[in-house]
């Protein structure tokens, strides 16, 4: 089988799986789970085969043609796509296996696994897409799968609300995305990514910013980040897969794909949006009491890092548009962002799955102030979780250290203000992660569920181990882009990662870690209430208010502005359109009917008069008067 056939297969398998589950296996949860996991295994295997084989190719076929406009479906399989596909495949497989154990007692397992398969299909579609329209189609499909899966327990009002919110906020971003695609097509007459890369482009500030809107929605940047914390209403494996490792990373992936369209001004905007998101999310995460919400804000923060990394890519040579220097500098942003995406996928999925294991063990208790002492009760989870925390905090020799270091190095070179903010965010990151780690695992159990917690089965622990290994080894790369586990596979992307020289960065990372972790360890004793709330309530309430500020603004806008406008339109429609025009027309026709009815007198003579009238008209026609 050719590699192209492999690629088509990896796209089609999850679709077939979802179709089979939707059509035949609605009630057979166990079989549906097996089908879905088999599909995920196949996807992971094929993804690795494709990556290892090393052939990079492109293929497309025309799907729709409307006059001059042609929409084609195609596959662009370069190093970037190979890397993303491998991440999606491996992490997806881990999560599928984890779901087997986690959702074992759920009644709607078939729907869940069907949704997972559809999600895999859509995500792989985004990964392999070779033109922006196709990417948009799968973009929307991913949003739909997310809606399905967040609202898995839809009987809960909060879950269905969260699903709606996610979809709607995504739609807002997608609107900008679509505008960007249309503008791009209008200016350049093509949306094919390879063609955009090779030919002469019309550079404008608007196109990349509009396309970035899509990333703002999908990757939950400011101001559209409000949906991600609420999306934690879905099952934990979903949070791991969609809202940590893959879907939210789709925005970053898309940015990397369209890097040929970037101009310095757009990159500046992107950089600042990313930095602001990172800082904001880190501040919000400090005061969360739900274990999944902490991880959600942590994801937001790391996504901000990735976006900022991408945006940092070109600030050095603003006067060198179109030259060689420009290209390399942008690619550095791509390299750093993709590298952090990769390591983040591994350790964030690990953290989420670990929290899932904890939640499962504590019988769906999610408040960290009611856990504690789980280190002794669940050692495997404890150690893998610790590896995850170390990775995200940037402990040297873990994967997170290398990727975060790359970003900080880039920031240090390019923009000092951003660098300072990112360093502060790193401190906060280690602070709240260690806080959570300490409150959950150390100390004495603070509730009955924590008392009786025990390790889950094999399906819950195997993925944790695999991801822990990847979290450690995933960061080892060299200048040429080879790595310990990567080999020569993704050199196109990984060679673009900026590497810092010398021990300075080592010391900086240790310093960040020491400050953040040290304060956290000192501050938070395992207690039932938040120590920060006790020590400085003002700061605490300020941070809590920060979290809900965006939501209240949106709420105000929707209820006051949008709702009133909608009611005005409804009024216009009722009175004017429905009443006057529609019923008016009907009334006029009715009048005609009444008039015609009056003609039916029943008397023959009258009919003869009318007949004569008709003859007279005809005669007038004949002599030419009419």
């Amino acid at each position: 089988m050719t590699m192209l056939q492999h690629a088509i297969l990896v796209l089609v398998i999850p679709l077939v799986s979802a179709g089979v589950i939707a059509l035949f296996l609605r009630r057979a949860g166990g079989i549906a789970a097996a089908v879905s996991v088999a599909a995920a295994t196949a996807i992971a295997a094929i993804a690795l085969i494709l990556a290892i084989h090393g052939e990079r190719f492109e293929a497309s076929c025309e799907w729709l043609r409307l006059g001059n406009f042609a929409l084609s479906i195609g596959i662009k399989f370069d190093d970037l796509a190979a890397l993303m596909l491998a991440i999606v495949g491996v992490v997806g497989l881990c999560i599928h296996v984890f779901s087997l154990g986690y959702m074992h007692d759920d009644e709607a397992k078939a729907r869940y696994f069907g949704g997972l398969s559809i999600f895999m299909f859509s995500m792989i579609g985004i990964t392999l897409a070779d033109n922006l329209f196709m990417m948009f189609i799968f973009w929307e499909l991913v949003g739909f799968s997310s809606y399905l899966l967040i609202g898995h327990w839809y009987e809960r009002r909060s879950a269905s609300d969260a699903a709606k919110k996610a979809f709607i906020v995504n739609r807002v971003g997608d609107f900008g995305f679509l505008l960007g695609i249309i503008m791009c097509y209008w200016s350049n007459h093509t949306v094919n990514l390879s063609e955009l890369g090779s030919g002469h482009l019309v550079y404008s500030r608007l196109i990349p910013l509009l396309l970035f809107c899509g990333a703002v929605g999908k990757s939950a940047q400011l101001p559209l980040q409000v949906w991600l914390p609420d999306a934690m209403e879905g099952p934990t494996p979903i949070s791991a897969l969609i809202h940590a490792a893959t879907m939210v990373a789709a925005g970053i992936y898309m940015l990397c794909r369209i890097n040929v369209l970037m101009v310095p001004d757009a990159l500046t905007v992107i950089m600042w949006v990313g930095t602001a998101t990172a800082l904001y999310a880190a501040l919000c995460a400090i005061v969360q009491s739900d274990i999944k919400k902490v991880l959600a804000y942590s994801t937001l923060s790391q996504l901000g890092y990735m976006v900022a990394a991408f945006g940092l890519g070109s600030l050095a040579s603003t006067h060198d548009v179109g030259g060689m220097t420009h290209t390399i500098v942008i690619a550095a942003g791509v390299g750093a962002a993709m590298f952090h995406l990769t390591t983040h996928a591994f350790f964030k999925a690990l953290l989420f799955l670990g929290s899932g294991s904890v939640i499962h063990a504590c019988h769906h208790e999610q408040n960290i102030f009611r856990m504690g002492g789980l280190a002794k009760k669940m050692p495997l989870t404890f150690w893998t979780f610790t590896i995850g925390v170390a990775a995200i905090a940037g402990l040297p020799f873990f994967s997170g250290f290398y990727s975060k270091d790359a970003i900080l190095h880039l920031a240090q070179e390019k923009n000092t203000a951003v660098f300072v903010l990112l360093v502060l965010t790193a401190v906060l990151t280690s602070f709240y992660m260690v806080r959570m780690w300490k409150l959950v695992f150390l100390g004495a159990p603070r509730s009955d569920q924590a008392e009786h917690a025990h390790e889950g089965g094999l399906t819950l622990t195997m993925p944790l181990i695999v991801l822990a290994v990847l979290s450690i080894c995933g960061g080892y790369t060299t200048h040429e882009g080879t790595g310990l586990i990567y080999g020569h596979l993704f050199s196109g992307v990984l060679s673009q990662i900026p590497h810092a020289e010398g021990a300075g960065v080592f010391i900086m990372s240790l310093g960040i870690l020491a400050v953040g972790a040290g304060i956290a360890l000192a501050l938070y004793k395992p207690a039932a209430t938040d120590a920060l709330a006790e020590k400085s309530p003002g700061l605490f309430t300020a941070l809590v208010a920060l979290r809900s500020s965006f939501d209240s603004v949106y709420d105000y806008y929707v209820t006051n502005v949008q709702q009133r406008f909608a009611m005005l339109l409804n009024f216009i429609e009722q009175i004017f359109l429905a009443g006057l025009i529609v019923r008016g027309f009907a009334g006029v026709v009715g009048l005609f009917g009444l008039g015609a009815r009056a003609l039916h007198v029943g008397k023959l003579n009258v009919y003869v008069y009318w007949f004569f009238g008709g003859v007279a008209v005809l005669w007038l026609f004949a002599i030419g008067v009419l």
Partner: protein, 98 residues
């Protein structure tokens, strides 16, 4: 002269038409219709005579036949109507009203 024949024909036609408009007895209305037909046959024959063609004469033949058939069927209808409604006044035959 042709002109006089045509005026005569028009006059008889108008009288027949007057009867159709005016009278309420169905049979009289029918006779008015026949009068109109006869007037048109007169005109046709006059034209045929004054142009020297024969087509008008032949056509009168057909008109005659059609008129005969029409009268037969029409009167059958009137008789059936009378049987049902016991009247042949058009004023009273207005069940199609409204």
């Amino acid at each position: 002269m042709l002109h006089s024949y045509l005026v005569l024909s028009a006059l008889v036609f108008a009288i027949g038409f007057f009867g159709v408009l005016l009278r309420r007895n169905t049979l009289i209305i029918f006779m008015g219709l026949e009068l109109m037909l006869v007037a048109s046959t007169l005109a046709l024959v006059a034209f045929s005579r004054f142009n020297g063609t024969i087509g008008g004469d032949i056509f009168v033949f057909f008109i005659l036949t059609v008129a005969a058939a029409e009268v037969a069927v029409g009167l059958a209808i009137i008789v059936a109507l009378f049987r049902k409604r016991q009247t042949i006044e058009v004023d009273e035959l207005d069940s199609l009203k409204n």
